[in-house]
């Protein structure tokens, strides 16, 4: 089998560079709509047909509730049923979807939102800001907070005012300059109609629900009243849950499914052939090692820095993902405009690690790393880390626990563990993970300078000023943080040669975040 990573990436760039992402969030309202992305593999877009997707990552706890999606297969369904105010291009840049304008006031404490007119839900009900208000109320319901509640906590639900059916004001309890970015993360804040019922779910998305059976199969049909003219191409989507990569690949090779998700690097050569292709995306998701900075061994910053220095990131990426993916620099939010590219790439430096350990009086360090099969490659990455750390005289004993135990009572309390995150912009991610008030502060990071920089940044409407503040925050994390972020894993999917319109995406969810409206069958 001859193929190179370069070929994949080249094909990917050709697709994604073609997308315009002009003046998006600060209110120019240049009428961005998502275009149909085309790749040349399967000829011209064609209407009709049934796309059969064999997707792994789901469970019998699968849901159609767009506010409480958890698994990959959940995202595959809700990304086609519902739509957000703001979405992401395959390049991971925000783009208006249902929204038409989103403008902050000078202090970022109030936003004006205008939504597109003439959009209807699947049951014929027109979309108005009442639905937006209802959605935010559901997300921020204190009795049953939704997944997005943590990231949108600054919104003051009582301070949402309807100006007319398509315009509203969103008041914030604290400045919230990154509202647009926070809303753009796929699958967390899709708009549902007033009185939404999860047992008869309607959205504004390109496909309507036909049937749903958790953990097994779901069927979607074309929304003939979809507001983006000419889309979608497909008549029907059948999503079948698979629990095993082998049966996914077998089904693809036998022609029983058209697309499969979340493949490992090992099967690329098996899949790649005359009538099957592999789609490799440089994802923006990240699978960090998490060191608690508040207690225990890693409370000493020298030991944390030593751990970061023992990692040979390229080798880890080679071993875990066959070299696909992107090197990490212990910072998250790689595609965000605020990402600090000026910090030097951290390389393995065993001597420096040893001297840091010596200074900390921790030579011959012994630590336990809790791992679990929570995302692709996590367990393998833990084993590689243990091997690499041995070079600096550090013994890392890897404790592989079940997923349920991992997310059980000790979740967010482990001393030294791993986690996985989908792509998020830098500052919204900070609000979730590295503030003392963050819901998922797994490293227990609480740095007063950092916190105060965040508070300034979140109140700064000017993009470049905000980026400067964010750069300084990243410098602090780079020097002292509790995360080891060795790489941003790739996303590897497989598809039949008859499938057109699939593009690699930086979002980190498979199959361009399961956006099937631009996909066709030849």
């Amino acid at each position: 089998m001859t193929f190179s990573r370069r070929d994949f990436l080249k094909a990917g760039l050709a697709g994604s560079l073609a997308i315009g992402t002009g003046g998006l969030l600060t209110g120019c309202g240049t009428g961005n709509t998502i275009k149909a992305f085309t790749t040349s593999t399967a000829g011209k877009p064609r209407r009709g047909g049934q796309l059969r997707a064999g997707l792994s990552g789901g469970s019998t706890a699968d849901t159609l509730d767009p506010l409480n999606a958890v698994t990959n297969v959940d995202f595959s369904r809700i990304d086609n049923l519902y739509e957000p105010l703001i979405g992401l291009t395959p390049d991971a840049q925000p783009v208006f979807v249902l929204a038409e304008e989103l403008t902050p006031n000078a202090k970022a404490t109030e936003w004006t939102l205008r939504i597109k007119q003439g959009i209807t839900f699947h049951n014929g009900k027109p979309l108005t800001v009442d639905d937006v208000i209802y959605t935010f109320q559901q997300i921020l319901n204190p009795k049953a907070p939704a997944s997005a509640a943590a990231g949108l906590a600054s919104i003051d639900v009582k301070a949402m005012t309807k100006l007319d059916p398509y315009t509203m004001r969103i008041g914030c309890s604290t400045p919230f300059a990154t509202l647009g970015q926070a809303l753009a993360i796929p699958g967390y804040s899709d708009i549902i109609p007033v009185g939404y019922d999860v047992t008869a779910p309607v959205g504004t998305g390109p496909f309507r629900l036909k049937s749903f059976s958790p953990g097994t199969q779901s069927v979607f049909v074309r929304n003939d009243n979809y507001w983006q003219t000419g889309l979608p191409y497909l008549d029907e989507i059948v999503i079948t849950d698979y629990s095993d990569e082998t049966s996914q690949v077998n089904a693809l090779l036998a022609g029983q499914v058209d697309v499969v998700n979340l493949l490992s690097e090992d099967v690329i050569s098996e899949v790649q052939g005359e009538s099957k292709n592999v789609l490799v995306s440089a994802g923006g998701g990240w699978n960090p090692f998490t060191m608690r900075v508040d207690t225990g061994t890693f409370a000493d910053v020298r030991i944390r820095q030593a751990m970061r220095l023992v990692v040979d990131r390229q080798q880890m990426l080679d071993l875990v993902f066959g070299g696909f993916g992107t090197l990490g620099n212990d910072l998250f939010g790689i595609w965000a405009p605020e990402y600090n590219h000026s910090l030097p790439q951290r390389e393995q430096d065993i001597d420096q690690a040893k001297s840091l350990l010596k200074a900390a009086g921790a030579e011959g360090l012994h630590v336990q790393l809790v791992t679990s099969d929570i995302a692709q490659g996590t367990v393998l990455a833990a084993q590689v880390l243990a091997q690499q750390a041995a070079a600096a005289g550090i013994t890392v004993s890897v404790s592989d626990v079940t997923v349920n135990e991992f997310y059980g009572t000790n979740y967010l309390k482990w001393q030294f563990a791993q986690d996985y995150w989908f792509y998020n912009f830098y500052l919204p991610q900070v609000s979730l993970a590295t503030l003392p008030t963050a819901s998922f502060n797994e490293t227990h990071w609480d740095n007063s300078r950092y916190n105060s920089l965040y508070n300034q940044a979140i109140a700064t409407v000017d993009d470049s000023l905000r980026a400067e503040l964010a750069h300084e925050m990243q410098q602090i994390e780079y020097d002292e943080g509790g995360y080891i972020i060795p790489f941003f894993p790739p996303v590897i999917d497989g598809y039949g040669a008859n499938v057109g319109g699939l593009v690699p995406s930086k979002i980190g969810l498979s199959l361009n975040a399961y956006d099937f409206k631009g996909v066709w069958l030849s």
Binding site: T60, N68, T216, Q256, Y407
Partner: protein
Amino acid sequence: MTTATQAPERVGPPSKAARPHPIRDTLIKRSGIGILTLILVSILVFAATQILPGNAANAVLLNTATPARLHALEVQLHLNRPAVEQYWTWLIAILHGNFGTSLANGASVGTLVGGRILNSAVLVVLAGVIGTVLGVGLGVLAAARRDSLLDHVLSVGALAITALPEFVVAVILVIFFAAVVWHLFPAVSVFAPGTAPWSNPAELVLPVATLVIVIVPYVFRMMRASMIDSLESDYVQMAQLKGVPRWRILFVHALPNAIAPTIQVIGLNFLYLAGGVVVVEYMFNYPGLGQALVAAVSDRDIPQIQCIVLVLAAFYVAVNILTDVISLAVSPRRRLPRS
């Protein structure tokens, strides 16, 4: 494996009034024990789910579990109640014929598991029947042509296959007949929920073939051995001397006597199938009971785990009873009281 129940010991010839009903007695006694077994199983399984780390709320929320969300869901699913109370509530509901709702998705467990039972039953029955017929047929054939080339080939083949676990058999079949060499049959069995598994028979071929291949050797070997015993017995030699046709000797004289020990093996095979489908369903993504059980355990979905385990345990009990009853029925000798 169970052994046949002994009929009550009596002295003297049976009088008509007090004639024992060994089959009926077996049925009654075994059913009683069976129900006790099921209750015990449900307690053990429930206890096991309590020992497993994490609960259904963790399994549903995974990495989105903030303490507030976790607590809200635990209250909603009643996971904050004492374990004994949870078990008692479940048991009372079961006695009213209510299997409860899934902790993972709120659907009715009875409906969820019902469809899965049908799917798995189709696999088990098809594989069991085909495997039995093939095994018995080949066993008779090999015994009738003892020490022929055919006999040797079959015996060696059977020995080789017994060394292969079912997932290896499945992989070989998929490579040859579905994914790589020939694209004759579907590599996975996916039929829409609510449609019957036989609606697309091609999807049943490889899973059933896998199970058949795994069980045939056991039936074959037992059948061959007991058939050879029968053929060497005095009454068969007598029949041969009398000039009874060969087919009649095989099927009328020897087979009925040879089948009794084989029935125990066939029963064992069905029991194996009930467990063996787990692996095969996983390999073929076949939406059956085994696959549902694996999913229910990883989701900590206690009502669904309980329901599926009870169904499987009931199947074990029923097959055991049935095997013993059939053994009794085909061995008149054992139905008589000992004297």
